[in-house]
């Protein structure tokens, strides 16, 4: 198990790092850290949902978060972009540093934070507007751009969201007319369009069919090159397929965090092993 250490040194040359595919990475200690979480506690009113979470999410990698229902996976990642704050009774304590800046500090510019940290939800959430405007929405919020620039940005995001070919002839149509899987890729494109650095995905495939799921997995595979991705999933195969690192949560605590290969083949904790082999959950 990799312990959260204060400082990390990049020892391997970046070219070699970039070549590795999911499952090949055994050690996170020489990767730069994107998100450094220390002693994160979370309360829903009187109910404590997270206990002393500490974790280092490596940059430019896919980190999966697994664990039984209700263990706090969603709660944990919802702290990273402070989306929990729109509900008054939800409170987070501790530190969450993204690129060294504590996002929980009151000084954080929350709009900039959310531009930098994109989020994809369990169900697709197309805005009630056209396909084009869905993707343009965030761009218009964060950039002063001409029409042409926005159109270019939308096209680029839809291409990177692996949706362009399916929608290029109907950009003006309502986004709600797309299929569930297409809507989810649209949401990913919408998140990508504002050029985030970190993308949080909370069970992005749980509401869509297997074909659409594999498309999104392929998409995550390509995102891996440019973004740091945190993926919450209930699907063990999915975690094993697409992630480089895996964190196992149980009852609001992070039980184990390490290279996906190790977690799935030789976990340190008996609880992790029980969960992965399906003995509970």
């Amino acid at each position: 198990m990799i312990m959260a250490t204060e400082e990390r040194v990049l020892v391997k040359p970046p070219s070699e790092v970039a070549k590795q595919r999911p499952g090949e990475i055994e050690d996170a200690s020489w990767l730069p850290v994107k998100v450094k979480v220390r002693n994160l506690n979370f309360h829903y009113g009187g109910h404590q949902a997270l206990f002393d979470n500490s974790i280092d999410i490596p940059a430019s990698r896919v980190t999966a978060i697994i664990g039984p229902s209700g263990c706090g996976k969603s709660t944990h990642i919802r702290v990273y972009n402070r989306i929990f704050e729109i509900y008054r009774s939800h409170k987070a304590k501790g530190t969450v540093e993204i690129d060294g800046e504590n996002v929980l500090s009151p000084a954080t510019d929350i709009l900039k934070l959310r531009k930098k940290v994109g989020m994809i939800f369990q169900r697709p959430t197309p805005f009630p507007m056209s396909i084009f405007n869905n993707v343009a929405y965030g761009v218009k919020l964060h950039y002063r751009a001409s029409r042409g620039e926005i159109a270019d940005r939308v096209e680029d995001a839809l291409k990177r969201g692996a949706l362009w070919d399916e929608v290029k002839d109907k950009l003006g149509e309502p986004a709600t007319a797309l299929s569930g899987g297409q809507q989810q890729r649209l949401c990913i494109a919408r998140a990508i369009a504002v050029e985030p650095e970190l993308i949080l995905m909370d069970e992005p495939c749980s509401a869509i069919d297997p074909v659409a799921t594999s498309k999104i997995e392929d998409l995550i595979e390509t995102l891996r090159d440019n973004y740091t991705v945190v993926l919450v999933t209930h699907n063990m195969q999915q975690a094993a397929r697409v992630s480089d690192f895996t964190a196992f949560f149980y009852k609001g605590r992070i039980v184990e965090f390490g290279a996906t290969k190790k977690i799935f083949t030789n976990p340190d904790s008996g609880q992790t092993e029980d969960y992965i082999t399906g003995r509970f959950g």
């Binding site: 709009l111 989020m119 369990q122 919020l141 709600t176 007319a177 949401c187 998140a191």
Partner: protein, 322 residues
Amino acid sequence: MRESTVERPSASPGAVHDQSRPDAVFKWLTAACSLVVIVIMAGIFFELVRNSGMAFREFGFSFLTTDSWNPIKGEFGAASSIYGTLVSTGIAMIIAIPLSIIIAVYLVEVAQPRVSRFIGGAVELLAAIPSIIYGMWGLFVFAALMQTHVQPFLGKHLGALPLFQGPPMGIGMLTAGLILAFMVLPFITAITRDVLMMVPPVLKESAYGVGSTMWEAVRFVSLKYGRRGIVGAVFLGFGRALGETMAVTFVIGNSHRISPSLFSAGNTIASSLANEFNEASEPIYLSSLFALALVLFCIMLAFQTIAHYWVTRMQRLEAGDR
């Protein structure tokens, strides 16, 4: 109707299984009750047409376009009443729509839950106040306020516009429009609030998630998501303002005149009817009042049709088949 051939398992053993007879009774009973609506509707329409016949025969189409209303000379024209109805309703909607939406947004998105419940309750109470009370308050309190403060202020700063010229009398078209705005406001607010509360939390979260401010999330996502319901609420308020009688009768001044100034007295179809039925001694006078009522009926009908068309059109657009 298709009879069910599958025997349903019954909760209590030995229960009777014959479902068809009670179903037939039920079917006819519900149909008969629903027929009442059609009968009332048709009955009212028929009576209005029958009783207004004399006026339309006498004045023809010009009944709608003349604004002279002179019971002594036996001259009747609906133009001033139609004008007053539309203008007072227009003023009401111009004020009530933005105000209601802003209040609803405050209640749902901004206010502390306790504050929201308190003000929300007040909004519902406001909707429950009988219109006669709005009228009395409008005449004794609000009209005085208009006369001493609001109208002089408007006259001073916007007096260049014909809309705000003339002596501040307190009562008049503007006052009636404002009272109407207060009356429809709670309806539009309450429905808009309910519509905004129906916006799925995860949709709001996505809006905030891409970095929207509260204003942007509300303006571009929540309101847009609920726009069909909000349009419905606006139409409801509109219909109510068109037909409102008591409160308007108190404060509009009741004069059959078309004046460009909103300060001057006017009338609406409903207020004329309320005021004048007692005085209508001549058959042609009475028939003209019926003709006015028919005009109001038709305005309502046209407006309902438009509202219905709009709402279904939006529904289709949202479903994406176009």
